[in-house]
Symmetry: C2
Subunit: 797 residues, 2 copies
Amino acid sequence: MTEASSFTDNDLHLLDRYWRAANYLSVGQIYLMDNPLLREPLKPEHIKPRLLGHWGTTPGLNFIYAHLNHAIRQRNLDILYICGPGHGGPGMVANTWLEGSYSEIYPDISQDADGMKKLFKQFSFPGGIPSHAAAETPGSINEGGELGYSLSHAFGAVFDNPSLIAACVIGDGEAETGPLASSWQGIKFLNAARDGMVLPILHLNGYKIANPTILGRESDDNLRQYFSGLGYEPLLVSGHEPEKMHRAMAGTLAVALDSIQRYQQQARSGTAPAELPRWPMIILRSPKGWTGPQTVDGKKVEDFWRAHQVPVSACRENDAHRDILEGWMRSYHPEDLFDEHGQLKRELQALAPKGDKRMGSTPWANGGRLRRELVTPSLTAYAINVQSPGETQAESTDALGSYLAGIFQHNADNFRLFGPDETASNRLGKVFNVTSRTWQEPVKSYDEQLAKDGRVMEILSEHQCQGWLEGYLLTGRHGLFNCYEAFIHIVDSMFNQHAKWLKVSRALAWRKPVSSLNYLLSSHVWRQDHNGYSHQDPGFIDHVANKKADIVRIYLPPDANTLLCVADHCLKTWDRINVMIAGKQPAPQWLTLAEAEKHCAAGMGIWRWAGNEQEGHAPDVVMACAGDVPTMETLAAVDLLREYLPDLRVRVVNVVDLLALQTQDQHPHGLSDEDFDALFTADTPVVFAFHGYPSLIHRLTYQRNNHRNFHVRGFMEEGTTTTPFDMTVMNELDRFHLAQEAILRVPALQGKADDILDALAEKIAEHHRYVREHGEDLPEVQGWKWPSQQGGENIPE
Amino acid sequence: MTEASSFTDNDLHLLDRYWRAANYLSVGQIYLMDNPLLREPLKPEHIKPRLLGHWGTTPGLNFIYAHLNHAIRQRNLDILYICGPGHGGPGMVANTWLEGSYSEIYPDISQDADGMKKLFKQFSFPGGIPSHAAAETPGSINEGGELGYSLSHAFGAVFDNPSLIAACVIGDGEAETGPLASSWQGIKFLNAARDGMVLPILHLNGYKIANPTILGRESDDNLRQYFSGLGYEPLLVSGHEPEKMHRAMAGTLAVALDSIQRYQQQARSGTAPAELPRWPMIILRSPKGWTGPQTVDGKKVEDFWRAHQVPVSACRENDAHRDILEGWMRSYHPEDLFDEHGQLKRELQALAPKGDKRMGSTPWANGGRLRRELVTPSLTAYAINVQSPGETQAESTDALGSYLAGIFQHNADNFRLFGPDETASNRLGKVFNVTSRTWQEPVKSYDEQLAKDGRVMEILSEHQCQGWLEGYLLTGRHGLFNCYEAFIHIVDSMFNQHAKWLKVSRALAWRKPVSSLNYLLSSHVWRQDHNGYSHQDPGFIDHVANKKADIVRIYLPPDANTLLCVADHCLKTWDRINVMIAGKQPAPQWLTLAEAEKHCAAGMGIWRWAGNEQEGHAPDVVMACAGDVPTMETLAAVDLLREYLPDLRVRVVNVVDLLALQTQDQHPHGLSDEDFDALFTADTPVVFAFHGYPSLIHRLTYQRNNHRNFHVRGFMEEGTTTTPFDMTVMNELDRFHLAQEAILRVPALQGKADDILDALAEKIAEHHRYVREHGEDLPEVQGWKWPSQQGGENIPE
């Protein structure tokens, strides 16, 4: 451990007082609603009726914050403080108030006694602020709720931000989670020349809610080996005596920052050695609930899990407990910290950085302030040439890959593509014409598309892809996460938390909009026939549909040009989560670019060229579809119906913007009832072929006039390794079943089309026989094309 | 590296031939539908039309399998082979066929040329078997689809199985995932005296689908440090020359098994040193696609990612490719491996273990064979005494904790409780009266409820809790996972995969039923007022409801006695996933144990004592509820309605078994339409107070006669840190909003109850004022009790 020569005794004593001030304010937030400066003895009515908050981690967070302040001032750094143990919210609030960031954003919470009283009362109080660091907390980019994502957020934040250091505090509880355990590998994706740096600070206070932590009980030797094996240089700071700890922390931080600056300089001047440097990380062992009550009612509290939340309870009712609280708070000597107006004493104020250098004011924690618009190329160059519907075959995601290559070319440091080793598999490989995968370790002669300055981020961890992208977006950039559809469920909970973050931050005027989080889900349920049942799951969109309508969008483009339009739209939006689902296999193309643009703008529409309605007559049946494979099967079913029942009036409706099915009061994109009825009618049978679980369509349309007539086919949770068409047959979403369903639902056909139903049943039986013998789909299915002579006028204006 | 003296040259040559046989069969499965023994030159028609499967990992899996066979025979071990890279399905199938397990289970796939032909054709073929190791695969307990869970399954499998060794192969792709990265810590929860042992075999073949792997490119030195830091003794086997590799692997495996047996003996004889041993783990570096084509069309295949799936494609159409395939297959010298009948040569047959020692036949991979019924105590001792509805207050999960303590007492080695550091927080602490938390590291004097032989498994990783429990259940035992409701989404995808596994395994007669996977979700959305928005999410049940109706159950017990009945039922079931959601806070108790039993058996019912219907009159409004907080708010709303509108005929319906709301054809528990209408009527307004997102109730009931009249209140995705009652007000689920809704929905009251609506609106305004001033709920809300004088007859027979 090195002692920083520049950390004087005076620095130490001032910094210790600053730390005490933060600790004092943290305790005050948990306990007090009045008498904030303890100008009179504590009385029951000064204490909040409900004591909520987490003390245990807070003194450590405050300790780190104070030392980072010191380093920022000394070295003129830009540091983003990522608070993994964000349930230590009082600490983040206290520090941003001390440095002035808080009162600038929330002027009502002024930097004086009156503001301090409000600061205390509002915490965890109805109408006030949450108990955890959250969107409301200045300087925060993640909410202190679900644990596991701090370090991946930190890496995401510093990619393409060469001047930024993300100081990421990781609690020993969080360190047990899977996502966190894998996120240490982020260091291997960081390019010191182009990116900023993450300084992980593993804060071992030894305990979780009611248990010791695994890493907290590890020997120093094992910890050193573990982090060395991960490629770091671990630096330990351990103890409980404030003076010694201050010196140790200041010295260690200096060593770490020296290393970071040296390695960055080498990388940026081209003088770096071939071997990758071991980047520093700090292990800080300090007692849980440090400086709080040692025991309460004879039970150990400090340095134990009992310090986790409120160390001494019922201080309103219990005089002895209130005495403990008062003694505890006075042990920080508030009179030594705040002047007669309740302002932090001038010499302590000087310890905070100024302006945007303050960690509560850094623009990187309010990424919308830094966000530059994405430059998107014209779609014309990437569009598929569609002469007539169904004639051309193309791979939707291949076209998107070309477009994304264009995005990369126009946005050299402002866009990245993320994926769990699936970018090529999802057929986005055209991006590799203009960039590579990020890879910092040695590259072998036969490796392909790996480069230190690659911009495609691939790691076999959906958690890291999502966490990196969130960090990248929240600091003002743009990105897309491509993933197999089934496995995006791995980040269901991360999606939840990001959606919650967006919901809250959108309501805060000071938080500027950040780019939307965009998902491209490919290798979807209908085309994972080769990988089997574990890879077949379309349920993510059900999960997404639960979130606030303002935040979420779900798109099911039926072909490549619609995918291009949808992606181009999504990439330009902000403060949303967009889900796009598209196949990667060669498939028929339906719409020209111009038609696709109109169709996507409308969200859904009648494909008149595919139906055979007659002017002035209502259709006999509406064949609706959402998703690329359901669209193809629907058109093939219509083809069969035309053959068998040429007089049947069929309408085809295709849905791209799924949530537009909802009513206007349920979703901003929701169609009016009038517009909905114009498409789906008020009383005609609707056979709806859907990409996902059928119940979602019922859930979205149950308020519609014609809902009783909706007959939805989708994924019935039947799957295995088989052929693509057999997947649809297993789930009764294939053309034959859809045609049967249509016939069965048209009242006028009842009892009059039994021969056709039999013929369709025989088709299904023939399929079963053929596929089991030959291992591939019926030639008539494989070779099916939409008969172009049926093509009439295209979708209406 | 130690050379095992017992591994002779003859052993080596036989084992190498066995390995070649497995490799031959693996390639055959991917490519051939005829000519299995290559008795004639390969022709196009011998090749499958679609080539599906994963070669890359397979030779390594086969290599390990052959060496484990050797060790089993030498040491008479029970080894469970957990195949993390389960997409190497051909290897698992090949080996279980070679050893005879496969043909015993599937007699049609006999051990001869005819069987081999069928074995080849069925693989990845419609009507055949999946391409990955799956439920269909003998010897497997996890499907090779989603990666990340193999090592947690392995630990779960060996808990309380002292004679078992789980040899867990982990691919370097899987090793990048979060869940896998944290699962190495499982070793710290393993008690060598009582549990079996996991032997992790990290298989570094260097590449994923299209990328190098992180660990594959690590230096040996970093790998050693990493695994040493985690508490293991890493043993490296590295190379590509078969003979050297066989010797190295045999020697290393001997060292590892010696260590395991020595440490186990020490632990079991009480002679273990105080310090925990470093358990061995093996790092096997071998080329991806080992022994396959080195190059194809001039491109590197072996030892590169191009070997991942089908190394040489289009062998039907492309003669040169077919030649490569034929040369590759013949390089294994099938004539040297199989006799004229296509049977494995006798001297090679002798290499497989016998009977249940075969890894494809081990009963631990078919846990139902070993499953002993759980002994459940009578509920009487744990029931809450309820004299009249609403009079008693109790904590539901506290009562459950007492019951679980009883379970522990009756099932000393057959039940465990899992939770992410939340068992105490979820108020199940009574279990600590009879057992402790599992903790193998040193225990400090002031630690509480930690013990080497504890049976409560706590780690701050939902992934590990779920993975351990799955492994424990799949090997024949019983368990319960308790978790905060919001964070169970972390394992959404694991839930999916387990549900899929159960669906498939239930259809396989040879797979015996395993105990259900039981979730207790507490600290639920309505009582995470203190932790804030990130902790407020009831969406898991939406996710669950998507899965096959046969598999899933969702229970929302309204009080402690119903929770006891539900839990007692769930713990006795098999091959299902049961979700129970119950609060942990003191709350009014409604039903006696006898009433609870009847209510739970019915799934839902009218609470006549709570309503005021009149004989012979239809109710004016049905107040329905599901969930403990919604039930309380509904009864409080009914209390208000009685006060304001004593003549209003109100019916109260409580729903415990949520999926019984579905129709009979949707779910086995579904009520008949007649029974449903008897509860909810065909035309009366229903105000439904629901625990989760309102849309779920619509989705479950849209086919019901009275669906149009369902007005559902639930979580509207509004939350923050506030009071419990304010949570319900924010989401309009509180008594005042429910009473308003009831009045607005009763036609006879239209325009006649505006004063009451105003009074209710004023109540809401009063709440807002009060809670923001005092920080706690209105006294009348906090002190509310169901007026016992209203109590009439209890729920009907």
